[in-house]
């Protein structure tokens, strides 16, 4: 694992979910809430269109955090996020992060997921075991 110091930025990731990603995530996760997969339903409840699952975006945050530990799933010990903006399919998501603290064999990384200026996940905190 790379040497991590307070203030370091993590490599992060950039992903553009295609039009059908929410369908595949619904199948993989079991969350078939129609706001994610049915444009007519989404519009009927006042949304501009279908929106991404928040937990899909949290999955991307977890991926970016785990990548810091060479993708070893055992190293991610805790992840807390706040869902804020709505995420849209067919728009690039950027996950970025900065090391907040390094102590007692644990690294805390502050993370954000955003589509342009729209921060879909804010105040995310990932705890990685060194």
């Amino acid at each position: 694992m790379a040497d991590l110091n307070v203030g370091d930025t993590i490599p992060g990731l950039r992903v553009t979910p295609d039009k059908y990603l929410p369908h595949r995530y619904a199948g993989a996760s079991g969350d078939f809430n129609p706001i994610h997969i049915d444009p007519e339903f989404a519009k009927a409840v006042g949304l501009p269109n279908t929106i991404l699952h928040g937990l899909y975006m949290m999955g991307l945050v977890a991926r970016a955090a785990t990548d810091v530990a060479d993708g070893d799933p055992r190293k991610l010990k805790r992840l807390s996020v706040q869902f804020r903006g709505m995420g849209a399919p067919e728009t690039e998501i950027a996950v970025t992060g900065t090391v907040n603290s390094v102590a007692d064999g644990r690294v805390i990384i502050d993370t954000v997921a955003a589509q342009g200026d729209n921060q879909t996940i804010r105040n995310a905190e990932a705890e990685i075991q060194l």
Partner: protein
């Protein structure tokens, strides 16, 4: 209107989920995880796992079913039309591997009102067939205009 709080402390029946290699692979591919420990049994064993290991966030697959009855409980009384998933926390323990049988229980931790919004906080705890805690989840739903 104010939020009802009598469901605070309430617990719901546990659900059990058997983790499988193909379901882990499906989840890993959707998220774009390419570590072979999620896809290939030999790679997982070589890395010290009992079998193909689930990505940490796969926990939503096995723990969310326990939360359904809690969220739809009339005693909780959430207005789904005005609800958003506000925040989420997971703390992981023992990794979940293919073949594991994971039992999840759900509990209402808090219901309160702040700035005209209702906050509904639930906890799930998931343990494996050996009784080891796999993950603890804290799920916060926010209902506008309570």
């Amino acid at each position: 209107m104010t939020v009802k709080t009598e469901a605070v402390g309430k617990e719901w029946p546990a659900t059990t989920y058997e983790v499988s290699k193909e379901k882990i692979g499906e989840y890993a591919r959707v998220i774009g995880l390419d570590n072979p420990v999620h896809l290939d049994r030999e790679a997982a064993r070589a890395a010290g796992y009992r079998d193909v290991v689930a990505p940490p966030m796969f926990c939503v697959v096995y723990s969310a079913p326990a939360l359904g009855p809690a969220m739809f409980d009339p005693e909780v009384g959430m207005n789904f039309a005005a609800m958003v998933h506000g925040s989420q926390e997971f703390e992981w323990g023992e990794p979940a591997c293919s073949g594991d049988e994971i039992t999840t229980s759900a509990k209402c931790l808090e219901i309160f009102e702040k700035d005209g919004k209702g906050f509904y906080v639930f906890e799930t705890r998931s343990v494996n067939q050996d009784g080891a805690e796999v993950v603890k989840g804290t799920w916060t739903n926010i209902v506008r205009g309570v």
